[in-house]
């Protein structure tokens, strides 16, 4: 009978054993007990890297996380590459040299003629144009697409402003855009037409039709609806200064291009005068463009492979999967064993293959940072994704040679879903933010981090006024003002997190003090990201690492429709300030305008910044060519292993 009882036990314990499997596999790979995984990998020239989470996919235009980015930066290379020891220095990538015109609005990148994809197909300027076309396509809905909005007309195309592209950009269009732009192109979201949209348009009453059309706006109408306006102009509410024939002209033009991809019409500032020259025209001067094109959103994607596995705008097709993925970076995908590891190997077609220092890299998706630290100390990893602050003093005493603490440009914050009841009130969000004791959290939980006073950490000369403090009494008062005294009337909220972290437990207890009930909801990395993108969460513990050294990398994403906003919040005033800053050439007045924008963000608090990162991780000394970088974008190709 004891055996049967044990039978239940062993069936129950199957899964944790599975999670041990990567480690067992590692041990098995060692062959013998004496040699650790790291020593074996040293002989083979393979770097073993802890990478925190299993990537959702490796389509660089769709993923947004740091774990994905680490792998993608080994598999792909942009026009300009990162320097191994200097965050700001530019290294030639696919482009050998680049130049710009006087006002920095036109940039010419000269691509190396020997650039190839990892399957040997030549890499040309057309590939870059295809990549940016795909990235900006409204159909792809890439979260990071706004990184390309500084390209001329790219924003209009990305936002699918069809009326503007078809009429406003067409110089031969008989009616000036100035006259047309007061028409309702983008729709009025305050008009509720949710129910009508699901019904047959022709069955609706005239009044219902009118409301539906007004809520949608001309840009978002389908052929049936446009035809209805053409037949009966009174269905749509036009401003008086637009004459009747101009109205039908606009609608006819929209109807003619109903399903067309407007990339050509948009006259986007991308040109390839020859196979190895890429000309990028910007809508405004962007002095930091070379720094920005190092980000993965500006990497090329292989047209010939993507089109083999689906349409250009299909999301998450097989193209980025094991065996299919083709890149242009120093490494190519060799093996993707789900939940075990992703291994990349030297890419023989890489232009600088002779100078790639490693034979391969293996990325381990170890979600639990404590497990990761133990694996490292047991000689199974060369480098960890991070180190729990709790282990800091222990490791400092026992293994000081492995410990790395470095500055890092990033912010830990709590993201609010401002469409949820209670959280839609800025006073409630402010109360929650006031309840957070940032200094205490940084002293005891995020050891080594700095308490955040704004969203943007200290960056160059940019300084935003301190905006965040801790005041429980004021928090309670604000809650009462909002109509929720002692949290009464507020629903129970769940804090979404991708990994267990003591800070989440601390926040739970903190909000409890305000009388707000909070549960903790843990999801794996992919579902965690997806839940935020679909606004299917209440609050989420999140982190944001700067993509380049400019405050806009922390501010640009809080605009309406930005795929990385995920709060449901936007502010017209905030966006106007960002636009104003973009057109400002003088750095100090530009910073002043950005600080003003940040003031609005910190006033409305769709997010509650908690701490500014510092990079804390374990790293083996035999990894050479790895230098402290505040953006943590280590070019993999210059790294070598010298035990």
């Amino acid at each position: 009978m004891a055996e049967r009882a044990a039978g239940l036990g062993s069936r129950a314990l199957n899964l944790p054993r599975l999670t041990l499997f990567p480690l067992l596999a590692l041990t098995a790979l060692c062959g013998c007990k004496r040699e650790s995984a790291v020593e074996h990998a040293n002989r083979e020239g393979i770097m073993l890297v802890g990478n925190s989470a299993e990537p959702r996919a490796l389509d660089l235009q769709l993923v947004t996380g740091v774990p994905e980015n680490k792998i993608i930066s080994a598999l792909f290379e942009g026009l300009i590459a990162n320097h191994p020891s200097d965050d700001e220095a530019l290294e030639p990538g696919v482009a050998t040299r680049w130049e710009h015109n006087e006002d920095m609005t036109e940039w010419i990148f000269h691509l190396r003629p020997d650039a190839k994809w990892s399957d040997g197909v030549p890499l040309t300027a057309e590939d870059f144009i295809f990549s940016y076309h795909r990235m900006l396509s409204p159909g792809l809905a890439a979260a990071y697409a706004p990184m390309l909005h500084s390209i001329r007309n790219a924003e209009a195309y990305n936002r699918d402003q069809r009326g503007y592209i078809l009429c406003g950009l067409d110089e031969d269009f008989p009616v000036a855009w100035k006259t047309l732009q007061h028409a309702n192109f983008s729709g009025d979201p305050s008009i509720d037409a949710g129910d009508f949209a699901n019904r047959d348009f022709n069955q609706l009453s005239a009044d219902e039709k009118k409301r539906l059309l007004a809520s949608r706006g001309l840009d978002r109408l389908n052929a049936v609806q446009l035809q209805a306006i053409l037949d009966e102009p009174a269905l749509f509410d036009w401003p008086d200064d637009i004459p009747g024939d101009a109205r039908s002209l606009v609608v006819q033009r929209l109807l003619d291009h109903i399903d067309a991809d407007l990339f050509e019409f948009a006259n986007i500032g991308l040109r390839a005068p020859d196979r190895h020259t890429l000309v990028v025209t910007l809508r405004e001067p962007v002095p930091y463009l070379p720094s920005m094109v190092r980000h993965s959103t500006w990497y090329p994607v292989p047209r010939h492979v993507i089109l083999k596995f689906g349409k250009m705008t299909d999301r998450f097709t097989e193209w980025s999967m094991n065996g299919n993925l083709v890149g242009n970076g120093p490494f190519m995908l060799k093996e993707w064993r789900y939940n075990h590891y992703i291994e990349v190997r030297r890419n023989p077609h890489y232009w600088d293959a002779a100078n790639v220092g490693l034979n391969g890299i293996r990325f381990y998706p170890i979600e639990n940072p404590y497990t990761e630290a133990r694996s490292f100390l047991a000689g199974q990893l060369h480098s960890t994704y991070n180190l729990p602050a709790e282990l800091l003093s222990k490791v400092r005493a026992s293994h000081p040679q492995y410990l790395r603490t470095e500055p890092y440009v990033g912010t830990v914050f709590l993201r609010f879903n401002t469409t949820r009841k209670g959280l839609d009130d800025p006073r409630v969000r402010r109360a929650l933010s006031l309840a957070i004791h940032r200094a205490e959290l940084c002293q005891y939980i995020y050891e080594g981090f700095t308490p955040a006073t704004t969203m943007t950490p200290k960056l160059g000369d940019y300084r935003a006024p301190d905006a965040l403090d801790h005041d429980l009494a004021k928090a309670r008062q604000l809650l009462a003002e909002a109509g929720f005294p002692d949290g009464k009337g507020l629903p129970s909220y769940a804090i979404l997190t991708s990994r267990p972290h003591p800070a989440v437990d601390a926040l739970q207890q903190t909000f409890r003090k305000l009388g707000i009930r909070v549960t903790i909801e843990q999801k794996d990395w992919g579902s965690y990201i997806a839940a935020q993108q679909s606004l299917n969460f209440d609050m989420a513990m999140a982190g944001w690492i700067g993509d380049y050294l400019d405050p806009t990398t922390f501010l640009d994403m809080w605009t309406r429709d930005n795929g990385n906003n995920n709060t449901g919040w936007y502010s017209v005033k905030y966006e106007a300030l960002l636009r104003q800053a973009a057109q400002q050439a003088d750095p100090s007045s530009r910073n002043a305008i950005l600080a003003q924008a940040e003031g609005i963000l910190m006033d409305e608090l769709p997010i509650a910044p908690i701490a500014w990162f510092s990079r804390l991780y374990l790293h083996r000394p035999e990894v050479r060519g790895w230098h402290p970088l505040v953006l943590d974008n280590h070019p993999w190709k210059t790294i070598t292993l010298q035990p």
Partner: protein, 318 residues
């Protein structure tokens, strides 16, 4: 007069139960186990009501990872919460999980097993094939699915209960959140016991005393409840003491996977999982809850062993 005097005790009636109890009392390991279980149940279910015991959820970050002291007998955890208090509160959940799910699984298992064994024929075939089908289902996945599906309903149920009884939500939420777990584990872990009971009942059904009962014209229900099941009680009780620890282990597994008790409430499984993460920085967080867990499991195993010996029908003829 010349007759040898007979010990009057030996003449008193000896029920099966008192015989078993006598034998159990002689088994020192089993008695130690029983005593310790009683102690731990008292500790977990009575001590938390003393106001002197710190709130298990109250955090004090400046005081984190402090060693054992007068105010914190077992020190504090990584968030400055009192470990002793957390172990006692967690113990309530772990013990309740053990007892309730075992009761559920015994009730179903004994009923199914006894019916199958006694009625035989088509009923037996149907019930046992059902058991076969359930055996083939992946236990863990079913429990996880069920817990996930029932999560929303549990919250509603908790709200309803709070409205109805006016109880403090914090006091009942850790238990109501476990109801899906109780139901799911209970509903799937009765398979073994039903097989055991069926075999026992098949054996007993042919015995003389059952024949006698039948010839007296007793109803099937009465025969089953009064004559057969009490005679099969030995294996059932033993199996129960062995199921409790395995269910407690299972709760630990589920909590390890994030499906069991939700923070800030804890169970021994959660405490051990958190402690295992932090064994490099504060090994006490692993050691103390593990001691409680291991001693409880050991006690249950000793008691189960002792009960098996004590209730063994063969030893009744000693």
């Amino acid at each position: 007069m010349g007759k040898p005097s007979i010990n009057p005790d030996a003449e008193a009636g000896h029920s099966l139960w008192s015989d078993a109890w006598t034998r159990l009392r002689r088994n020192r390991a089993a008695m130690c186990g029983l005593a310790f279980l009683g102690f731990i149940i008292l500790l977990c279910f009575i001590v938390p009501f003393f106001p002197a015991l710190p709130d298990p959820a109250a955090q004090s970050l400046p005081n984190k990872n402090s060693g054992p002291s007068l105010s914190h007998w077992m020190g504090t955890d990584h968030l400055g919460r009192d470990l002793f208090s957390r172990i006692l509160h967690g113990g309530r959940i772990s013990i309740l999980v053990g007892l309730i799910t075992t009761t559920v699984s015994l009730t179903i298992g004994v009923a199914v097993g006894a019916m199958a064994g006694y009625l035989g024929g088509k009923v037996d075939a149907f019930l046992m094939r059902t058991v076969d089908v359930l055996y083939s289902l992946p236990f863990l996945i079913i429990v996880i699915l069920f817990s996930a599906l029932a999560k929303g309903y549990t919250n509603d149920f908790t709200d309803w209960l709070v409205d109805l009884t006016g109880l403090n939500r914090d006091a009942i939420a850790p238990f109501t959140s476990l109801i899906p777990l109780f139901v799911a584990i209970g509903a799937l872990s009765w398979l073994n016991i039903s097989r055991i009971v069926r075999a026992s009942v098949q054996d007993l059904a042919g015995r003389e005393f059952v024949e006698a009962a039948k010839s007296l014209g007793l109803s099937q229900q009465r025969i089953l409840l009064r004559h057969i099941i009490p005679n099969a009680i030995g294996p059932i009780v033993v199996y129960a003491t062995l199921t409790i620890p395995s269910v407690m282990l299972f709760e630990a597994t589920l909590s390890f996977l994030g499906m069991g008790v939700q923070p800030p409430y804890s169970s021994w499984g959660i405490l051990i999982k958190d402690g295992a993460d932090r064994m490099l920085s504060n090994p006490l967080l692993l050691i103390f809850p593990s001691i409680f867990f291991i001693l409880t499991l050991l006690s249950l195993n000793f008691l189960g062993d002792g009960l098996r010996d004590a209730l063994d029908p063969k030893s009744a003829k000693d």
